[in-house]
């Protein structure tokens, strides 16, 4: 029987295979950041262990870095200590670090592909659940905990129970590709299969609705695999993938030889079998807006807030969850999505802060002004994205519309730096999680695409961005 893409990558990374437990797999690339690594380095020191392959390990600081003027000192002492710890750990163990002043600094999942560190057919791990982003390149990439970070540092391997392959086919053509985006595709999928729908699996996204997407859009899809509960998500590489990585800073010298190999080997066989299947038809999907406190609590922009009964379809626990979510979000069933007023707009995160996201949002903003009661910010995914956008004059479009144009980092996606919501504030956010308090204690998050966030910033409430095209 044939194999799926995931199974092929798995098989070529087996160091020790066991039938009665997890297998030991080799890790080709290990990405490190300041929040989930200090305890791992401490563990190495206590046990007098070294980093086995510093040449396969790359570090940056992204989670808690301020996004204001980089020449200013970091005021939050605990953040400063974590950043200093990463500097010391990288220097002690010989690891390449893109620090806060580096032109290569940025959100770890944005810089990996931009620098050509992410490669098809490889395994990538990072102490961050959104590592699934790199799957867009036909990479087996997943988030790990700090103990596993220490394990990979020491051994360049990981014990892993083999996940099951899950096929998600995206079929059809979106009517307006500027208004209905990759974000709307992945939110539609999570809405249907639920936040635990992918548990124990690696998703392979397939179909013409996926191959039509650019690399940056594919990253948005794979990024949110974890929000469907999957261990990872991936997409078979094609010419777009190979073109994207050609000529980047760390693209290997023997790249074309590798491409030949990847073309032959990195696709799911016709007779391969998936454990699970799901199909999404996208001909008629609308822009999506989340209304609750997990990404599965999402509806079309044209709809109203559902009642907990309708949402839960008879599941008592889901109903209770929806009631709690509506109370936290201060929303009532029946309110049209387009009547929800917002206080803040955040365009950023590893989901939607790449150049294409900013270009698309700027098309909506151009010549308009942010609603007077809204505070809106753009946080580019990396210093490279920021520079490219500035070369195109996109920063001016945003600042002329009264958006704040900031330095790169994770910022208000998780609010570990000073960019947070105040209690009760409501935000249209291009990030990936609408959990309670995620963007600030008491803050209320609605997940949307960059163009939907941009239009909401202008109007002060959600609007169907298709009408603006």
């Amino acid at each position: 029987m044939g194999k799926t893409l995931f199974e092929k990558i798995w098989d070529t990374h087996l160091v020790v295979e066991k039938n009665d437990g997890p297998s030991l797999i080799y890790i080709d690339r290990h990405l490190i950041h300041e929040v989930t690594s200090p305890q791992a380095f401490d563990g190495l020191r206590i046990n007098n262990r070294r980093v086995r392959r510093p040449d396969l390990t790359i570090a940056t600081m992204d989670h808690n870095v301020p996004t204001n003027d980089r020449s200013l000192p970091i005021l939050d002492q605990t953040s400063a200590i974590q950043i200093q710890a990463l500097e010391k750990n990288c220097s002690d163990f010989g690891i390449q670090l893109f620090d806060i002043s580096s032109p290569n600094q940025g959100i770890v999942h944005v810089i990996g592909p931009q620098l050509g560190i992410t490669l098809p057919g490889t395994t990538i791990v990072c102490g961050d659940s959104h590592t699934s982003t790199h799957g867009a390149f036909g990479t087996l990439a997943f988030g790990i905990g700090t103990s596993e970070v220490e394990h990979v540092l020491a051994s360049q391997t990981l014990w892993l129970d083999k996940p099951k392959p899950f096929e998600i086919k995206v079929e059809g053509k979106r009517k307006d590709t500027h208004a209905v985006t990759a974000k709307d595709i992945i939110l539609s999928i999570i809405k249907k299969i639920g936040t635990a729908g992918g548990m124990g699996t690696v998703i392979e996204y397939r179909g013409d609705g996926i191959s039509d997407l650019s690399m940056e859009q594919r990253m948005t899809i794979c990024n949110m695999s974890i929000e469907a509960g999957a261990r990872a998500g991936l997409i078979a590489p094609d010419e777009k993938t190979f073109d994207y990585l050609r000529g980047r800073k760390y693209t290997p010298k023997n790249y074309e030889t590798l491409v030949d190999y990847w073309k032959e080997n990195l696709k799911t066989d016709k007779d391969a079998k998936f454990e699970k299947n799901f199909i999404l038809h996208i001909d008629n999907i609308a822009p999506q807006v989340s209304w609750g406190t997990n990404p599965g609590m999402t509806c079309d922009v044209t709809e109203s807030i559902p009642s907990p009964e309708d949402f839960s379809k008879g599941d008592h626990n889901q109903k209770k969850g929806a009631e709690k979510a509506l109370e936290y979000m201060d929303l009532k069933p029946g309110i049209p999505i387009t009547e929800i007023k917002i206080d803040r707009v955040f365009i950023g995160s590893c989901t939607n802060a790449r150049l294409e996201d900013l270009i698309e949002a700027s098309r909506i903003i151009k010549g308009r002004k942010v609603s007077p009661h809204v505070r809106a910010m753009v946080v580019p995914g990396s210093q490279m994205v920021k520079k490219q956008a500035e070369e195109l004059g996109i920063d001016k479009i945003f600042t002329n519309a009264n958006f704040e144009w900031r330095e790169s980092g994770c910022s208000m996606c998780l609010g570990m730096n000073p960019d947070i919501l105040s209690p009760g504030e409501r935000c249209a956010s291009t990030s990936n999680r609408n959990f309670e308090g995620r963007q600030g204690t008491g803050g209320r998050t609605h997940l949307v695409s960059p163009v939907m966030a941009a239009a909401a910033a202008i109007e002060g409430h959600f609007v169907d961005v298709r009408k603006w095209m």
Partner: protein, 194 residues
């Protein structure tokens, strides 16, 4: 790592689905560079009001459950962020067993790196446990939960059971395969980053 064999305590019932790691330990407490001391931040926004006072209606603040070591909860516990701080906070607070209908993948594997026992039971068994007020015993060796009126057996993979019972150091085990890892590296087609 600390080993786990047996525990006897009252149950803390958190009857909710999709409890994410942002709730278990909110982001503002992820800035510590050690593994200890996270217990006071556990379920912070549910446990404390905005002035830092205990919220009387949250189950962890009920005096009856102050010494509880067993948390019983719903589907998809530990979803979201990979932060191992969630496991450190549960352990530091005093929990050593979490019983749920399902666990998120990364959280589940983080448990076994720290000596926290996650047990999966079906919905019927869990709903009975939510009403259990007496002491219950969780015995890993025999894979049995003893309540006031019944014994529930639970499944756990053999190697995972062994890791907890013996408190094994994962990395030391792996480094015994050094020769195999080196052989793999010699064959690898993937070049270094630098």
């Amino acid at each position: 790592m600390q080993s786990f064999k047996k525990v006897k305590s009252v149950i803390t019932s958190l009857d909710q689905v999709n409890v994410d790691t942002d709730q278990i330990v909110p982001k503002q407490f992820l800035k510590l560079v050690q593994k200890s001391g996270f217990g006071k931040f556990l379920f912070y926004d549910w446990r404390y009001d905005d002035k830092g006072n205990l919220k009387s209606d949250f189950v962890l603040n009920n005096e009856k459950y102050q010494n509880s070591k067993i948390l019983v909860t719903g589907d998809n516990f530990g979803c979201g962020s990979s932060r191992e701080h969630a496991v450190w906070a549960l352990l530091d607070y005093g929990f050593s067993v979490i019983i749920a209908t399902s666990f998120a993948d990364i959280f589940y594997s983080n448990c076994f790196k720290n000596g926290l026992l996650p047990i999966v039971l079906n919905e019927n068994q869990i709903s009975k446990l939510h009403h259990e007020t007496g002491l219950i015993e969780v015995d890993l060796e025999n894979q049995i939960i003893k309540t006031s009126n019944e014994q529930i057996t639970f499944d756990i993979e053999l190697h995972k059971k062994k890791i907890l019972l013996e408190g094994l150091d994962d990395i030391a085990q792996t480094l015994q395969y050094e020769k195999k890892i080196s052989e793999f590296e010699k064959e690898s087609k993937i070049p270094s980053v630098l």
